[in-house]
Amino acid sequence: MDFDFSDDQEQLRDAVRKWVDRSYTFERRRAITGAGGFDRAAYGELAELGLAGLYVAEDQGGMAMGPVEAMVVLEELGRGIVLEPLKHTLVTSGVLGAYAPEDVRSAWLPKIASGEALVVLAHQERKGRYRLDVCEAQATPAGAQGWKVSGEKSIVPAGDQADAFLVPAKANGKIALFLVERQAQGVSTRGYPTLEGGRAAELTLRDAPATLVSEEGLTVLEHAVDIGIACTCAEAVGAIDKTMQLTAEYLNTRKQFGVTLSTFQALRHRMADMKMQQELARSMSYYASLKLNAPPEERRRAMARAKYQLGVSMRFVGQNSVQLHGGIGVTDEYAGSHYFRKLTQLELEFGDTLHHLGEVSARMQDTAGVFA
């Protein structure tokens, strides 16, 4: 039982933070949003730091790191509200490394680690909401080793910029997971901006050539989503930290009725309640990352608990930060409002708060606690 970061982890954090502070300024971010919400150059810089290969084995060009390192990185990216979807790279590289056949791994993981290829998960369908077992896309065998996939996938992160997709589709009535390249025949995308200022796309597959990643599609998909949840929790912690910092600075600076806002007890108590949420959020983000390698049942239960708490915390801190800022808090000009948008979107990713409440409820056991 130990929550200290190792020196290596602290160095990793410093490296990412430095990149954010120096290279991912608010102005650059604004320009990226204005240009569509995704910047390949910025993504390339993250890859240069080695981050795209964080979950990739060393012999495939990666850093072979674990969930705690991923958490450290995502906290910093959250603190800088970085738009480029590194967390989706961790999701896809994580499950490719764990479940894909050797030839798929060696074909894709080095390119992912180097940043040459961006591979994202494309699992959401219009009728699925947050359920992972809803899948209308169909896969049929084509030739010796190949498959063809048809279907529609929705809200795919950076979907019109990515190089390939991990796509669940039904093969013989059971969900399997496939890799589909964006440039392949029968693949079309329609990109658009997102709530946080980033980018997503609708993806249409018409007999698109596909490579089988795993026949146990649901198992892999659940694992993928759980990696996504742990990453999202960490990202949220970073965004919450910065939000708290901005809000405290504002209250200690801004004057009303001749005194700083931070002298009003009602506002001080609100900040205390926000601090509570900040610390609960951080605690449950640790919990999520430290449970990511647990057996599936335990892992899923932990992720539901964590995402529920983070959802509550994000909304509370985000909304109250805007409120405590008053008018300035609701302007585009002010950085804080972009943190609020980020937090709003993070709550909606990989299952929102009510969804995960349902998961926690469904997965309750007689006992409870960190170790139960």
Partner: protein, 392 residues
Amino acid sequence: MDLAFTPEEQKFREEVRAWVRENLPPEIAHKVHNALHLTREDMQRWAKILGKKGWLGYGWPKQFGGPGWSAVQKHLFEEETALAGAPRIVPFGPVMVAPVIMAFGSPEQQKRFLPGIASGEVWWSQGYSEPGSGSDLASVKCRAEKHGDKYIVNGQKTWTTLAQYGDWIFCLVRTSTEGKPQTGISFLLIDMKSRGVTVRPIIMLDGGHEVNEVFFDNVEVPAENLIGEENKGWTYAKHLLSHERTNIADVNRAKRELERLKRIARSEGMYTDTRFRDEIAKLEVDVVALEMLVLRVLSAEKSGKNPLDIAGLLKIKGSEIQQRYTELMMLAAGPYAVPFVKEAMEAGYQGEFVGAAYLAPLAATYLNMRKTTIYGGSNEVQRNIVAQVVLG
């Protein structure tokens, strides 16, 4: 005690309903029912339709050309227009500055300004807030110096809603720095086409342009545009703030939006989800309770007995409900609240939607509504006021 409206009130409601059915342009109602962006033309078109009927100044007494309605009639008018999908009346002219002009303006000012407000021809803006003032209005710094028969105005206003369309602006300006901050404030009407007036947009967190900064650089304003006496503006402003209080709850819009929330939830398969449906059920109780609160205020105004000093509660609860229904709409969309396509939030968008057309504006509306607990006296300020009533 009786919950039902009187037969006369019911008849009045029917008349309003029939008139609105005839006269509210369906394309405008469509936008309102779907939270699509309203243009200046939409707003002014509806204002002029009301103006022609004599209902834009629906709260005005008969002597100034208003309908002279009772509090209940005003409420019924608000309810019928809101449920039918009429845009909210832009309040700065008919609801805000007009009552001040009626109460404190000269006969000449009344004759000059009221007709344009009543007809919807002239667009007014409100110049109260300044950078650094926020909830503390008395700290107004924008100054007006008298030179002969003119005031020279210098300074800045901010959060000026829809000032990009404004013809005129009513301003609190500082005409004296002596005594308490409240005592040196005057109430001045300024033609926004005057030289030296600059309007700069403030983009809101939803990406919309709704408010502005307004700069005054040696703007010449004829002294005849001063309302009442110099340095008495604070009194007039307070009169304005105390005017038209029940509609701050905006309960009729809440009823309309609750219906929309149910439609969205049903379409997204969430109306039968116990958890989500419970959240709607809680909101439904909130809305009914708020409506009862509003009706109690109306009843008290009607009878003159047991006045209810609860404007603060109406503001707090009304704004919380506004935020909650927009939040629940966004949550009903779930992952489909993530796409954020500005063009798809405009009526007449011809492109493809992500998921469904009605999903397009939900996140933006949620973001936009965060303002409601901040403006018009933040909810924290309202709690101060309520506590004052309870505890002294």
